[in-house]
């Protein structure tokens, strides 16, 4: 028996069309879909080189149901700046909102200069950083947003190393230090929160920065079906604080659980931290990570 499948006539219900080549359980694909869904069709998006760009734009196809431009790796914010000023010069700034996108490498490392310029000049742009905490597209190399003691292919663990020896760069604070009206962090574990923050950001004129924690099962070596759980534990332990900063002041936070969820709960379900559980000395390292979570809880008042 043959069954003929016909595509539904109405437009795809999501603005990031299905059929792209993201991995199973990809947090970034989910985050991007939520951002677009909340932003609607009257937007122009730029996207830096990275997983999101590669899995959505395999020539000659595209998953983007909104106007889209791929920039280079280091300049999503600069290309978006160009789009925004051109719209203004043409007197068409009310027709579309501009959203610049990049991964953590494209935002916190190679793209930081362009982002800083965009924030400083006060462009009316929402910058979204999809934070999966390493260069996943090129095979899991560390980035400025890779967490402490995390194993990647360029921060290997072994005799000389526990993995990434640097702390995660505090990008939201760097963005906020530019004196911009709105900075927010979010997580794919809380989809409604992402949508609300995107809508709020787009209602504000000026530069906005949003950073979304997006687990990568391939790079984090976590089970694809656990993406949401992993993301939720990052928030609940205090390792990924969720907050809003408006005009320099923290205005809203998501509380962590009471009693406190120990960081082990988050670390043990990811292969990228597995080395911490293999020797007694690893316990000391886990304690250091617990201290990072505790500092976050104190700094943002998450308890």
């Amino acid at each position: 028996m043959t069954t003929t499948l016909t595509a539904p006539k109405e437009q795809s219900c999501t603005l990031l069309a299905p059929g792209h080549t993201a991995c199973t359980g990809c947090g970034e694909a989910l985050a991007a879909k939520l951002v677009l869904g909340a932003a609607g069709t009257n937007i122009i998006v730029t996207d830096a080189t990275g997983c999101l760009e590669v899995f959505t734009t395999k020539f000659p196809q595209s998953s983007w149901e909104v106007p889209f431009i791929h920039s280079l790796f280091e300049n999503s914010a600069a290309v978006a700046s160009g789009v925004e000023v051109a719209l203004k010069a043409l007197g068409r700034q009310n027709e579309a909102k501009v959203i610049a996108q990049g991964g953590d490498g494209g935002t916190a490392d190679i793209g930081l200069q362009a982002l800083s310029g965009m924030l400083e000049r006060g462009h009316d742009i929402l910058y979204v950083c999809y934070d999966n905490e390493a260069y996943m597209n090129t095979g899991v190399q560390r980035s400025g947003l890779t967490p402490f003691d995390c194993m990647t292919t360029t921060s290997p663990c072994g005799e000389f190393s526990w993995g990434n020896k640097h702390n995660k760069k505090d990008m939201p604070s760097i963005a906020a230090a530019h004196g911009i009206p709105y900075v927010a962090t979010a997580s794919v574990a809380f989809p409604k929160d992402i949508e609300n923050k995107v809508k709020k950001a787009l209602s504000i004129t000026g530069p906005k920065y949003m950073q979304i924690h997006s687990p990568c099962p391939l790079g984090w070596r976590s089970k694809p079906q656990l993406t949401i759980q992993v993301a939720r534990l990052a928030v609940q332990t205090g390792l990924y604080p969720i907050f809003e900063i408006e005009n320099g002041k923290v205005t809203k936070v998501r509380k962590v659980t009471t009693p406190k969820t120990p960081v082990e709960e988050y670390l043990k379900i990811q292969g990228r931290f597995a080395h911490l559980f293999k020797s007694p000395k690893g316990k000391e390292e886990i304690q250091k990570i617990q201290e990072i979570a505790d500092r976050n809880i104190e700094k943002y008042g998450l308890a």
């Binding site: 790796f73 490392d109 190679i110 260069y135 090129t138 292919t153 360029t154 921060s155 290997p156 072994g158």
Partner: protein, 374 residues
């Protein structure tokens, strides 16, 4: 420990990718400063360095961008260290300003480009479209980098090893121009311990000035006439390199009717054509430039005096063919066959092209028929 098995097989051989071989060869050549940034298809190199450098007490830094990586090389080279960076086409574009400054400051270093398809983000498969960029400058100003083009994993190791000596000898950046295939294919490789060459001491390096005159490294000559004088010095150095450092491989050039000119991955395929042609008594020879700059002009000029024609094969829209034409200076026709965007020429395509350019050659026709049947 014996290093040979019965039958003369070396036990020192390792199975490595070209990228890993480049990294290991650099370490064996005394490179202790490596700065990288992720980009496919050279990631095996940076991954290897991240593990290997701490073992030998060297420095591995994953920079925040390609510009930072080449600038860290600038710093380490100025301090007298053997420094290296690697990337692939788009990343090499970002490094161009740094490469021009390194050449202008006469700082020795090694830069590996594992080429991928372009322009723009292009794709991640093998390409030879950065020839112009590597050989004709890339960055601004009248400068040259020595450009070495390996065609196998073993040659990758050998050339990277030699690259550090060449860089130190001439105080000049050296570029290793590979491609995604040479970088990612795995082949047995042996690291030959070579005798130390008598290289000049780095008396110019920035190492502190206690008890001696300070050293200054710069590429800025604002006083009228100074820059012209400095550039003349650079040009004299480049002429010396052209005189002494040309390398190439010549196969069957003495009896050939047609000569193929190709480097890197294209050359491997051309070798196959030369091999097949011998079986059918069809006279195809080959010149494989190993140094793309200095270009082996002399040998190409010599063969052009007696062959029917020359066919240049590249994985580009035609870049090296311009240098072949400059060497030939009209002595014989120079043809071109190329594929771009990840396309790799097959030996059959090359034979077809030969038949097209020498249509009355019976041996070539026979070869084409036989090759097509296979």
């Amino acid at each position: 420990m014996k290093d040979r098995l019965p039958g003369g097989i070396s036990i020192m051989k390792q199975l490595l990718t070209g990228n890993e071989a480049a990294a290991e060869a650099a370490i064996q050549a005394g490179c202790r400063y490596y700065y990288g940034y992720p980009i496919t298809p050279q990631n095996e190199l940076i991954n290897y360095m991240s593990t290997r450098m701490p073992e030998v007490g060297g420095a591995f830094i994953q920079a925040e961008s390609e510009i930072a990586a080449i600038s860290m090389v600038h710093g380490s080279a100025a301090a007298g260290g053997r420094a290296m960076t690697s990337s692939s086409s788009p990343g090499i574009s970002l490094k161009q300003e740094g490469i021009s400054y390194l050449a202008g400051s006469e700082l020795p270093c090694v830069i590996v480009n594992i080429q991928r398809g372009g322009p723009g983000l292009g794709d991640i498969s093998a390409s030879q479209a950065d020839y112009f960029q590597a050989v004709k400058g890339g960055g601004h100003g009248d400068y040259h980098t020595i450009v070495l083009a390996p065609c196998s994993v073993q040659e990758m190791a050998d050339l990277v090893y030699d690259a550090f000596d060449l860089a130190d000898k001439y105080r000049n950046p050296v570029i290793i121009l590979g491609d995604a295939q040479v970088g990612q294919l795995m082949e047995p490789v042996e690291f030959h311990k070579k005798p130390k060459k008598n290289l000049p001491a780095k008396s110019w390096a920035l190492t502190g000035a206690e008890g001696r005159k300070k050293n200054v490294i710069k590429s800025f000559y604002p006083v009228k006439g100074q820059l012209e004088e400095f550039n003349a010095h650079l040009q004299r150095k480049y002429r010396t390199i052209e005189e002494h450092e040309v390398r190439y491989e010549a196969i069957n050039i003495h009896k050939a009717d047609v000569i193929l000119v190709a480097y890197g991955t294209s050359a491997r395929i051309c070798k196959e054509v030369v091999k097949k042609s011998q079986q059918y008594k069809f006279k195809v020879g080959m010149v494989r430039p190993v140094t793309l700059w200095p270009f082996p002009k002399e040998i190409i000029r010599k063969v052009s005096e007696r062959v029917e024609c020359i066919l240049t094969v590249e994985m580009s829209a035609g870049q090296m063919v311009e240098d072949v034409k400059l060497a030939v200076e009209g002595r014989c026709p120079v043809h071109f066959y190329g594929r771009t965007g990840g396309g790799v020429p097959t030996s059959l395509e090359i034979i077809r092209k030969i038949v097209e350019i020498v249509p009355d050659n019976r041996a070539a026709n026979t070869l084409l028929q036989l090759a097509a049947v296979k």
